[in-house]
């Protein structure tokens, strides 16, 4: 039982990077970015193939981030330069990525049995679950610090203002097209990084691992925001912490649902209904 919740936390940490990606695209830029489904799998595919061919996981990490960022940048360019609707741009790239991911993997599923991962490079705990938790915890902690810093820099302020008030930002000398492209690149870099982590936690990459993942990220972001509203905080650092917490909490809720006897077959349905609830409850209150 305890194991179930520990592995939920583990997945929550792994998906926290995805949630930060969604936070950037959806919350900062107001763009519902479906590229996520494809770039998550892309991260997993690149990770599985490179680990299988003997690469060190720590060298794979920046590469995965860059490929994800590349996918996001393409969505951004299609949206800002070819003036295609943001949602459609994401769907186009996601669709294309399905073939690309399959080509990278060569088959629909790559197991990582007995292969060295980022976790196996450490041995400060003999218990593998505890070891993974620690390593993931440290990675997400570094990510939290880095992204918080980035969003507080002058560049980060311009980024946040772009999604908030484009007219103003343009009048303040920001090229909003480039800014959106950079933002989508960043978001998908984090999403791919999540694919990298989850692949190694699960021990395999699968061509379908990204399906519906964007909803998972959105759910995490919104759960985080509901918690933050209770505490009335608005600082960006805390906001990001809420997103990470939301990701973990979401996984715990799902673990609880599974342990309560819900068939794993209906997991995506449960996720969808749950996210719908989270999204709509604040709106229902407002109309009263």
């Amino acid at each position: 039982m305890l194991n179930l919740y520990l592995s939920a936390i583990l997945l929550g940490l792994g998906f926290a990077s995805l949630s930060i990606g969604i936070f950037i695209s959806m919350r900062i830029f107001n763009i519902p970015d479906i590229t996520t489904d494809g770039s998550f799998t892309l991260g997993g595919a690149v990770t599985a193939v490179l680990l299988s061919s003997g690469w060190n996981g720590w060298f794979v990490l920046p590469l995965v981030f860059l490929t994800g960022a590349g996918a996001g940048a393409i969505t951004g360019l299609i949206h800002t330069r070819l003036k295609v609707n943001a949602l459609l741009s994401g769907i186009l790239v996601m669709t294309a990525l399905y073939s690309i991911n399959l080509a990278i993997m060569g088959k629909s599923n790559i197991p990582l049995i007995n292969l060295p991962t980022i976790f196996s490079s450490f041995s400060f705990f003999s218990d593998s679950m505890l070891l993974q938790l620690t390593v993931l915890g440290i990675i997400i902690l570094i990510l939290w610090i880095k992204v918080s810093w980035l969003l507080k820099t002058d560049f980060g302020l311009a980024m946040r203002a772009t999604g908030n008030n484009e007219t103003m930002v343009r009048a303040l000398g920001v090229n909003t097209k480039n800014m959106k492209t950079a933002g989508l690149a960043l978001a998908n870099g984090f999403t791919a990084l999540s694919g990298f982590l989850i692949t190694q936690v699960q021990g395999f990459a699968d061509i379908n691992m990204g399906i519906g993942i964007v909803i998972l990220g959105l759910g995490s972001v919104m759960i985080g925001e509901i918690i933050l509203k209770l505490f009335r905080v608005s600082a960006i650092t805390i906001h990001l912490l809420g997103v990470i917490g939301g990701s973990i909490l979401f996984r715990i809720i799902l673990a609880f649902a599974l342990s309560a006897g819900i068939d794993a077959l209906y997991l995506k349905l449960v996720v969808a209904v749950f996210v719908l609830l989270v999204v709509s409850i604040p709106n229902l209150k407002r109309t009263e």
């Binding site: 820099t153 302020l157 103003m168 930002v169 343009r170 303040l172």
Partner: protein, 250 residues
């Protein structure tokens, strides 16, 4: 100096909805001049603004600022020369960012936004002092999201933000149209003071006759894409409220 040379703009050219927003128009505005621009809706005032700020492109003609042709410069590069105050008091600030963060961006209007945290203690102090000058009591709220403030407070901040970085030209498109009379007066007083203190070249579009009489040292009336009246400071001084109201009926 701002120069419009043979500027022409038509919307929906060749269709039955064709609107000549600006006939070939020539206009020179000197450095430090405060121009009040009036005219009924559709007279071309806003088109003139949008052309200058770069949010629309002219069909023909040139726009020069200090003898440099800016006609084809994209909007975000024109901020080197000008800052803009919009009619919607919410559109000059980013609501989810704090007052401090908004001012940080404004302070970088003509510069690159780099990977550096610029909201230092020194910067905080400068901003607090400047905001205290507005006498609105906002200096204690600089960490609050701007979205928690009223429209009037936001417009006042927008005005101050406009002069945070070296700028020469201030464009104001009905900056008080959405505000109540009391707040409007406060905002216009702040605007007038900032323009005087910073020695800005300013253009104000307004429908408020009182503001037409009180502010500016040149008055231009537009009609159907043309300049109908162009009065200098001395000519402007003798004008009465009724006179201005009468012009709109012509």
């Amino acid at each position: 100096m701002i120069e419009f040379i043979d500027i022409q703009k038509t919307y929906g050219a060749g269709t039955i909805h064709e609107i000549k927003a600006l006939e070939p128009l020539n206009l020179k505005i000197m450095d430090g001049e405060f121009v009040v621009l009036i005219g009924s809706n559709g007279s071309g005032k806003s088109t003139l603004f949008n052309l200058l700020a770069g949010s629309t492109q002219p069909d023909k003609g040139q726009i020069l600022i200090n003898k440099t042709d800016i006609s084809h410069l994209p909007e975000h590069q024109r901020c080197l020369y000008l800052s803009r105050i919009f009619q919607d008091p919410l559109s000059g600030t980013a609501s989810e960012l704090s007052i401090l963060d908004n001012f940080r961006l404004a302070a970088l209007r003509t510069r690159k936004k780099t990977l550096k945290i610029g909201t230092s203690q020194i910067f905080r102090k400068i901003i607090k002092d400047r905001i205290a000058g507005l006498n609105l009591g906002l200096e204690s709220k600089i960490d609050q999201p701007v979205g928690t403030l009223s429209g009037g407070q936001r417009q006042a901040l927008t005005l101050l933000m406009a002069v945070m970085d070296s700028s020469q030209i201030l464009l104001m498109d009905e900056p008080t149209a959405a505000l109540d009379p009391g707040t409007s007066r406060v905002i216009m007083e702040i605007a007038g003071r900032i323009i005087r203190e910073e020695g800005l070249t300013a253009i104000l579009i307004t429908h408020q006759v009182k503001d037409v009489l009180r502010y500016g040292d040149r008055l231009i009336q537009m009609k159907e894409g043309k300049i109908l009246r162009d009065l200098n400071k001395t000519q402007k001084q003798g004008i009465q409220v009724n006179e201005v109201l009468g012009w709109f009926g012509e």
